[in-house]
Amino acid sequence: MSMQRKYLTFMRIVHTGIVNFIRNASLAIAAMAVMIVTLTIVLFSLIANATFTHTIDQITDKIDVSVYLKDTVTKPQADKLVAELRKLPNTEKVTYLSKQQVLTNYQKQNAGNQQLLTAINDTANPLPATIHVKPQDLNKINDIKVYLEKPEIMAMESDPPSYSGNLKEAIDNITHATNILREIGIIGVGIFALVSALIIFNTIQMAIFNRRDEIQIMRLLGASTSYIRGPFIVESIIYGMLSAVISVLIINAIFVAASSTLQATTLGLLDIGYAVTYFDSRFWLFLTLQLLVGIVIGAISSFIATRRYLRFKTK
């Protein structure tokens, strides 16, 4: 073979190699792009969900029912009331504060207001002993209400109980909004997971089509289906793994950018400060999780694609 032909052959081999690479790369990039979007949404939903839950917990934690007792109520009577409140199914925590404790708290809260403190100190303690009832479920606060409205209980109360009424409504709205967001998140994740599985499916199908001669030869040589199928599955698992790493990096970059530019760390409902901590403290867990999701999507879609197109056909 002359040098010139050798050179030509060499150039042809190189050219075909480059063309194949670009062809495969564009397929791989398409498959990976959608996978990255999917995994980013999965991770973002997870963190957003945790952050919303955290915000709601923080707010609901501050909600309780305050029962103000008349000064005539004795300690044993108060203890009995506390015990009975604790027996209610929906109470999580019941705390009794004596007149003196309430006063001390009040003084602490108003430490800056000297005039008010003097006024209070001048008189006999005007504040009532108080029982704080923390409900387990805000939506079932009625049980407690019914109990507190019994005549014999009302007789002991100096003032009507306070229910943090406005706050509850706000919390209901937040919970409702969060539930909707959660549902949208789940549907979104579902749709994107399906789309990325379909695109990987298509990519593998194309790859099988491009390599059908090679596959036919492998078959005639007695290669088992799994031997032929293996490389395709490995290929899409690699898509999944790369996408997982990239999606984690994207989320990381978003948080870094967000926490440095948004000095006020609370952006609407999404407490970015909390989200960043939540993400950072579970970085490796999330990376592992993303890798698993990526691998599963890649493996399943390519498994189905190869199952359909590498089936042994004997007529």
Binding site: M1, I13, R219, G222, Y227, F312, T314
Partner: protein, 227 residues
Amino acid sequence: MILLDRVTKTYNKNMGPALDRISLHVEPKEFVIVVGQSGAGKSTLLKLLTREERPSGGKIIIGGIDYDKLHDRDIPLLRRKIGVVFQDFKLLPNKTVFENVAFALEIVGISHKEILHTVPKVLDIVNLTGKEKRMPQELSGGERQRVAIARAIVRQPKILIADEPTGNLDPKHAWDVIKVLEKINRYGTTVLLTTHNVEIVNKLKRRVVTIQNGRIVGDRANASYKI
């Protein structure tokens, strides 16, 4: 070694059968040449043997394997016991000569060490020593076919099926390939060869089975080409 009993293959019900009640018995270590015009049914016969096609009727037993009892999932195992050589070589274009032959061993899980030991020996049998690193594109047709033969025999099959292995080769290269097949047959492998080439048939002086219109019309030892 090969036993066909009234084997029929019909592709299309509106047309006649491609093979019509073929019966053939080949002993171990035999060298059999199957001749016939294009469309006579030679390729169909070979496809039945490699289980690329199922017979419409009749019985096939090869090397003790009854094809009626063969599961689809066991087809790879069957194909590993039969070496096949094709007219168009069917080499993997992006693998070197060595890798192409090694590939047949890789798929059955032979160790790297054993591959390094076995492949050079087989390449020596087909006279390709020194060309291990060539790509198929860099080889002549005859050389490519010998790579294909090396690949077919590297697993030491009991049977070697060669489907028009010389069909794309000039006479000189064709003879190189035939000589290699004879050599393999001397080592104890049953060889089933289909060909068009009158000269090869006449020179080989082996058993010749003639197929015409899907039927065996001649089966003679030490025969020459006659249709």
